[in-house]
């Protein structure tokens, strides 16, 4: 039983960590009013960039940085199309998902199936790591997990809700015309938010292949980019709520693995469906229970709408 709990929590923190990084990135973009449906493609690109970098001798941390840079580069393309040229965000997001996944699969073909050349190690914290369950699952893990689960969400929360910069960003997402009138450079803020979000989506992909799965295979992102987008809605566009949601998803993913490892009388393919079904349930249950969340409670008012200054 103890073994089971430890294993589940260890996997949950890694699987959920991927989602936390991606979801925090998506929150930045969506809070600025840009709906980036391309997370899945950015994640795939980041995942393959990380693998290619370590295959050419880079240490894992540099691989993660490469994943971020690739995410940022493609984020620039997406931002140029949606923010500067004001193209339809849904179409551009789908295009980014498809071309990103396709490009990543084409590049990754020759790396497919090989273990990553360099991966993140674990660091045991003395004394704490001797605790039952939590010791192995939390205190002798990849040190990046503390950054992902604690520092990044708190930092983003403070940035969004406690700084001038955060007010500007949120104002742009709520009412770009008002923000513009108040002197905020709307397009610049949106561009920066999209690129920052995309670099985190790339990092999520890099973390996936360098710290969690530890190899590249075709379709390794497996819809995580879409789960991230659902998670942002589920978490009410708040960084701290996301963490709770991501832990839940991590645990559900881990449950599937535990089931496979322990030979539960459920086919593995059915266990693999769990995260997707759980995501759909999480999308449907809150509005079913409360009338308030039916109108996308917490969504920025101008989400998804391009800003034309002359139409104020």
């Amino acid at each position: 039983m103890i073994e089971l709990l430890t294993g589940m929590l260890t996997t949950a923190l890694l699987a959920g960590g991927v989602l936390v990084i991606g979801a925090l990135g998506e929150v930045i973009a969506e809070r600025a009013g840009v709906f980036n449906l391309g997370v899945e493609g950015l994640m795939a690109l980041g995942a393959v960039a990380g693998i290619v970098a370590v295959a050419h001798g880079a240490p894992a941390l540099l691989g993660l940085l490469c994943a971020m840079l690739v995410g940022a580069a493609f984020g620039c393309v997406f931002a140029a199309a949606t923010v500067l040229l004001r193209a339809n965000q849904t179409l551009c997001g789908l295009a980014l998902t498809v071309s990103g996944s396709g490009l990543a699969a084409a590049v990754g073909q020759s790396y497919s199936g090989h273990p990553a050349a360099s991966v993140f190690g674990t660091v045991s914290i003395p004394i704490l790591s001797a605790l039952p369950v939590l010791g192995r699952a939390v205190f002798s893990q990849n040190p990046l997990l503390y950054l992902i689960w604690i520092i990044l969400p708190l930092g983003l929360h403070a940035l969004l809700f406690r700084t001038r910069w955060g007010i500007d960003l949120r104002a742009v997402g709520e009412d770009p015309a008002a923000a513009d009138a108040a002197g905020v450079r709307v397009l610049w803020v949106q561009f920066a938010a999209v690129v920052a979000g995309a670099s985190l989506a790339g990092a999520a992909g890099g973390f996936l292949t360098l710290a969690y799965i530890n190899s590249w295979s075709d379709g390794v992102t497996g819809g995580r980019g879409w789960i991230v987008i659902a998670l942002v809605i589920f978490g009410g566009f708040k960084p701290l709520n996301l963490v709770v949601g991501a832990l839940l998803f991590g645990l559900i993913t881990a449950l599937g693995f535990v089931g496979q490892a322990r030979d539960w009388p459920v086919p593995p393919a059915v266990l693999s469906m769990l995260p997707y079904l759980a995501t759909i349930a999480c999308m449907i249950v809150p509005p079913l229970l409360s009338r308030r969340s039916r109108t996308h409670f917490g969504a920025p008012a101008s989400l998804g709408m391009p800003y034309f200054r002359e139409q104020r």
């Binding site: 551009c92 295009a95 071309s99 490009l103 759909i280 449907i284 509005p287 996308h296």
Partner: protein
């Protein structure tokens, strides 16, 4: 440059042509930078697709499912909603058609009709939950329909490796051969293409000439105005989504009964995803589905041909995404005109 409020059909068409050409040229440039002889590859692809009857038949076999998956997305787009789950509904239709084909014993015609009905119903059933959630709970349909794609793919994997696995086939995990085949129209090309084309005509008429179609378009243009005018918006959303899912399911049935003749993993061949691009390129107009799906069929066919040159099959998927991105940008740019020159006051 100044932005105009509305543009006509010619401007939109021109922007589509220019953006598709731009994306293909950009893609070709990238291929050239990777060391391929891009003009020769393009010429080979055109020759292999249009040069002889075999090429045309292969093209038709890809075109037919793309017409239907594109139509499925376009049907829903008319009420302003995205059905991104064509891939999953395609799988659902294929599963249902396979089950009927393997277990029902009937004359060929009756069996095919039953399989088609089962495929349509399964596709519609696969979108039922997202449709209800969208119509009554305002749950984002893009995410719910998309996530069900993964569930459907896993279901096919489970069926093909488990209950439906053909023990005689040791090489690939697939179901047994289905004894009912759609008669051929032209050698390899089966009647599915004619069915797809006919369905496009029916849907185009339905949207252009029926009260139901008018109400759907009204609800798509402005949901609140439609509700105020007495349109049962939620019912229309349900009907449109079920029709959309059913069409994608029918595409799955035609693929099983006409082309593959058994259920296997990856049978959808990304048709569901490419269908989204078809509908987006066609601007949700049913008739424009035909050229848009032909273009995408040509691209997918090019992908198959290019594989023999050592180009990854995924490269073409990236290219289709580039076409969509370019079209989305091009559509916006079409609204810009040279600013009228200000005349100095006399």
């Amino acid at each position: 440059m100044a932005r105009v409020a509305t543009i006509g059909l010619p401007a939109l068409l021109l922007s589509r042509l220019v953006s598709v050409a731009f994306a293909l040229c950009l893609g070709g440039t990238i291929f050239a930078l990777c060391g391929y002889n891009a003009p020769r590859l393009a010429a080979d692809v055109v020759a292999a697709s249009f040069g002889d009857l075999f090429g045309l038949e292969d093209l038709g076999l890809i075109w037919s499912p793309l017409i239907l998956t594109g139509l499925a997305v376009a049907v829903a787009l008319r009420i302003g909603l995205w059905n991104i789950g064509g891939e999953g509904q395609f799988y659902a239709g294929a599963i249902a058609a396979t089950l009927v084909g393997l277990h029902v014993h009937a004359p060929l015609g009756a069996a095919l009709v039953l399989m088609a009905l089962a495929g349509f119903a399964a596709g519609a059933a696969w979108i039922l939950v997202p449709a209800i959630a969208r119509a009554w709970l305002a749950v984002d349909e893009i995410i719910t329909t998309l996530l069900l794609n993964f569930v459907a793919a896993l279901l096919v994997t489970y069926l093909c490796t488990g209950p439906l696995r053909d023990p005689a086939n040791a090489v690939t995990a697939a179901s047994a051969h289905i004894p009912y085949e759609i008669p051929s129209l032209l050698d390899d090309l089966h009647w599915g293409l004619a069915v797809s084309l006919g369905l496009v005509g029916v849907v185009a008429l339905l949207y252009a000439r029926s009260i139901w179609g008018y109400e759907v378009r009204l609800a798509g243009a402005n949901r609140h105005a439609a509700a105020y005018a007495g349109v049962a918006v939620r019912r229309r959303i349900m009907e449109v989504f079920l029709l959309s899912g059913g069409i994608a399911g029918l595409a799955g049935m035609l693929e099983v009964a006409g082309t593959v003749h058994r259920l296997e993993g990856g049978i959808s061949n990304n048709f569901g995803y490419v269908g989204i691009m078809v509908a987006a390129l066609a601007g949700a107009s049913p008739l424009a589905i035909l050229p848009a799906s032909l273009l995408m069929a040509l691209l997918l066919n090019a992908g198959i041909i290019l594989q023999s040159y050592g180009v990854s099959k995924y490269a073409v998927l990236a290219l289709t995404g580039l076409v969509l991105l370019s079209a989305a940008v091009g559509e916006r740019l079409a609204y810009y005109r040279p600013a009228p020159r200000l005349r100095p006051a006399a």
